[in-house]
């Protein structure tokens, strides 16, 4: 079996791409990479465009090596990856919407993020004014007697993000679900092009507000890689501390919200209290409840004082005191278990094929956590385990979250006990370069890739949310379930709309 490193050595290497190599490939080597993906040797970590080239981030599952391969497409066409490797389909449709890059051979030529309401088409490529009225989106059909369609969204009865779901049902049983996203497209990639680092860091932290620390960290580490610099050890530890607080708050909120979707409001109320304590501790320690704009390129925006440390210690103690009783409540409420066990089962083979990160992948046996592999500071010196379950159902996704809460508590302890001294921020030099970073958000691995121009400004930046590879799996996991269980499955995935819609 060929290793990814061999392919990367074959092409024309790009200088100043750190920390993993990037290689320009010819069309035949590009096709070879597609075959490797389709055969399941490698995992697709991301696919994004530029006006006249297309890039693919790959991971060799055997060795854990990462790398980026690029294909020049002067005539705006390239051999489609999605044709043979479905996880790439939506990414290719997005590259087509934003840059006008045409994936050759891809059957699905419908737009994805572009709903015809931008006023322009291909905003990042050779921009054209939009052509007339938007074309109605052609949903995939299902044929059969007594099938009926139920459209849901994009506006929902609860306060959640907008997304449209088209259900085809036979009675209560779901035959097909198709997602329609793009309602919260903000044009982050256009806004970043040509802007300075500080501004872009703020934009990155706003792509998906619930994972703002993970996004800001991924962006900051990519920028540091591009400039061949490094954040001071204390800053790295503080970033990890913030990331774990963010994970705690989100997982606690999710566990309660999943139970609430089975009308078990007690868990939501109790978990909501713990989540609120996380946010208040974050406010006390870092000055912002969600810790937005606290992580900046070169370090962190502020230092942690003793009052903040004791606020976090009190939080850890409070969660340790109350959480076991909540786990017990979840585990021993038969009516709740009846709803979660066996519901929305995701096939481990699909989780592996799509490279599903976070609780979605780990509940279906995919042992991947970017804190472990490729790993980044300071997690390489911390002791924690990655919970992996095989069940693949809603219950397994809840349990992965429960175990991750426990691991995060341990990580916070270790980080506070061994917080290095020193500065928390360095200035990054203004220079050319390309950088890439993975950061583990509560949803899974966030990928940030950027290229700096010689004046230190962003030439091109791409942020890939873990939800790109989780949304399609939700469609697969729900098949054969009843329509009333969709909210429960959806909540157990908890994919990001904003992070996905860019």
């Amino acid at each position: 079996m060929p290793a990814l490193t061999d392919l990367l050595a074959e092409g024309e290497p790009v200088a100043n791409h750190r920390p993993w190599p990037r290689t320009r490939l010819g069309p035949d080597r590009w096709t070879f990479a597609i075959a490797q993906l389709a055969e399941g040797h490698w995992t697709l970590m991301g696919l994004w465009g530029e006006p006249a080239s297309v890039h693919m981030a790959l991971r060799d599952d055997e060795t854990g090596d990462l790398g980026v391969v690029s294909l020049a497409c002067p005539d705006h066409r390239y051999p489609s990856v999605g044709r043979f490797h479905p996880p790439a389909i939506r990414l290719e449709r997005t590259a087509s919407d934003l840059f006008g890059l045409e994936p050759e051979g891809l059957e699905d030529t419908r737009p994805w993020l572009d709903q015809g309401k931008w006023g322009v088409s291909r905003p990042l490529g050779a921009t054209l004014p939009a052509t007339g009225e938007p074309v109605p989106y052609a949903f995939l059909t299902a044929e059969g007697e007594a099938l009926h369609e139920v459209p849901v969204g994009p506006i929902h009865a609860g306060i959640i993000e907008p997304g449209h779901f088209r259900f085809t049902c036979s009675g209560e049983t779901l035959v097909r679900v198709e997602e329609r996203l793009g309602y919260v497209h903000k044009g982050v990639e256009s806004l970043m092009a040509g802007a300075d680092l500080a501004h872009c860091a703020r934009l990155a932290g706003r792509l998906s507000g619930d994972a703002t620390v993970a996004y800001a960290s991924a962006f900051a580490r990519a920028a540091e890689a591009a400039t061949a610099s490094e954040a001071p050890p204390r800053a790295q530890a503080l970033r990890a501390l913030m990331a774990e607080l963010e994970r705690l708050a989100n997982h606690l909120g999710d566990i309660g919200a999943i139970c609430n979707d089975a009308s078990f409001a007690l868990m939501l109320a109790e978990c909501g209290i713990l989540r609120e304590r996380c946010l208040r501790a974050a406010e006390a320690a870092f000055g912002h409840r969600l810790m937005r704009d606290r992580v900046v390129p070169g370090g962190v925006a502020g230092d942690l004082d003793t009052a903040g440390t004791s606020a976090i210690r009190a939080l850890v103690e409070a969660i340790r005191r109350r959480f076991p009783a909540l786990i017990q409540l979840y585990d021993s409420t038969a009516s709740l278990q009846d709803r979660t066990v066996g519901t929305g089962r995701l096939d481990p083979a699909l989780a592996r094929q799509y490279g599903a990160g976070g609780h979605v992948g780990r509940a279906s046996g995919r042992n991947f956590d970017s804190r472990k592999c490729p790993g980044y500071a300071p997690y390489d010196r911390l002791d924690f385990t990655v919970p992996v379950l095989e069940g693949g159902d809603v219950d397994a996704r809840v349990w992965v979250r429960i175990r991750e809460v426990e691991q995060s508590l341990g990580l916070v302890d270790q980080l506070l006990a061994s917080l290095p001294d020193g500065p928390v921020r360095v200035d990054l030099p203004a220079c050319e370069g390309e950088g890439m970073a993975l950061a583990e958000s509560f949803r899974g691995d966030v990928l940030a890739w950027l290229r700096l121009a010689s004046d230190g400004r962003i030439a091109r930046c791409h942020l890939r949310d873990p939800s790109w590879f989780q949304w399609p799996l939700l469609e697969a996991a729900i098949e054969g379930n009843i329509i009333a269980d969709f909210p429960l499955c959806n909540k157990s995935f908890n994919c990001s709309y904003s992070g996905h819609d860019l």
Binding site: E149, V152, E270, R339, A484
Partner: protein, 318 residues
């Protein structure tokens, strides 16, 4: 004289159920909020909501037919009349000579029929889902309810509620297995009929899981107020029904003094508070069941009702 007394009791009863019904709903919500360690809205909030809805304009779907506009009033009227037939504080209700337990079931069934029709009238996906689920639930709840009535009628010798509660309040009844079975079955039916957890969730925002709420999603303004009030009345009706059959103490007799009425009223309010607390506790401690588990849940009520009836055929003293 007796006619005037009967009229007065009936008039007070009709006003009373209307007045207390939103309060009961508010009380359940408050108790639930407290169990979830929230402060919750004030008990009087449902009254304010109704006043707000009555003031607001009605937004109608473009393709809504006359049925959609008329249904809320039909639902409200049928439920109100049904609620007026169940003795709350005094048993000498004028209407009870013409209407018995079976009429109450029939009135509720017609209200539901119109609600389901209205749910489907506008043609949204949710209305259809809600209506079909509601019909599935009612097709199981109604037979169970009838069997419960048979059990009670076999014990008391009448389907007239005044006679039933007078007989059950007397000393000659004692503990009856069949009545115990009927009580459990009636509680199950009451939970299903009132769209409470675990059958339905009155507080949910998830369109796809709704039953009752899915049917009324398109309603607004005074139409919604009528439906909300009818839902509150229905909850009060079932609490009053359980109280008058199984806890009939404190009911004022026909032709008794106004003081006895007041006593009966105080006891009735106490029963409502206790029922609200129990309902809130039950709803907090259980998750909602899958739609396809509901037949099993209601099947239990049906079997209990059947068992109660059969036991009485074996021996009148069971």
């Amino acid at each position: 004289m007796e006619l005037i007394g009967g009229l007065a009791v009936q008039g007070v009863q009709m006003a009373l159920v209307l007045l207390l019904a939103p309060g009961l709903t508010g009380l359940v919500r408050t108790f639930k909020a407290r169990l979830l360690r929230r402060r919750g809205p004030p008990v009087l909030q449902p009254y304010r909501d109704l006043a707000r809805l009555l003031r607001k304009e009605v937004v109608l779907a473009e393709n809504a037919s006359w049925l959609f506009r008329v249904a809320p009033y039909l639902i409200f009227a049928a439920t109100w009349v049904a609620a007026a037939l169940v003795p709350t504080f005094a048993s000498g209700l004028l209407f009870s000579w013409t209407a018995d337990l079976i009429v109450i079931v029939a009135l509720l069934a017609s209200a539901r029929f119109f609600l389901a029709l209205a749910g489907m009238d506008v043609g949204t996906g949710f209305g259809g889902i809600g209506a079909s689920r509601e019909m599935m639930i009612s097709s199981l709840a109604e037979p169970a309810m009838l069997l419960i009535i048979f059990t009670i009628a076999l014990v008391a010798g009448s389907t007239r509620l005044a006679t039933v509660s007078a007989y059950l309040a007397s000393d000659e009844v004692g503990l009856r297995v069949s009545l115990g079975l009927a009580l459990i079955a009636l509680v199950i039916v009451a939970i299903a009929e009132n769209a409470r957890v675990p059958v339905d969730n009155p507080a949910t925002h998830l369109e796809l899981t709704m039953v009752h709420e899915a049917m009324v999603l398109e309603y607004s303004g005074r139409h919604l107020a009528m439906i909300e009030l009818a839902a509150s009345l229905k909850l009060l009706l079932f609490v009053a029904l359980i109280a008058s059959v199984f806890l009939p103490f404190g009911l004022a007799d026909a032709g008794s003094e106004p003081l006895a009425w007041l006593q009966g009223l105080a006891l009735f309010v106490a029963k409502l508070v206790a029922a609200a607390a129990l309902l809130a506790l039950f709803e907090t401690s259980i998750a909602k069941m899958r739609v396809f588990r509901v037949p099993q849940f209601l099947g239990a009520a049906l079997m209990l009702g059947l068992l109660g009836t059969l036991l009485l055929f074996v021996s009148r003293s069971l």
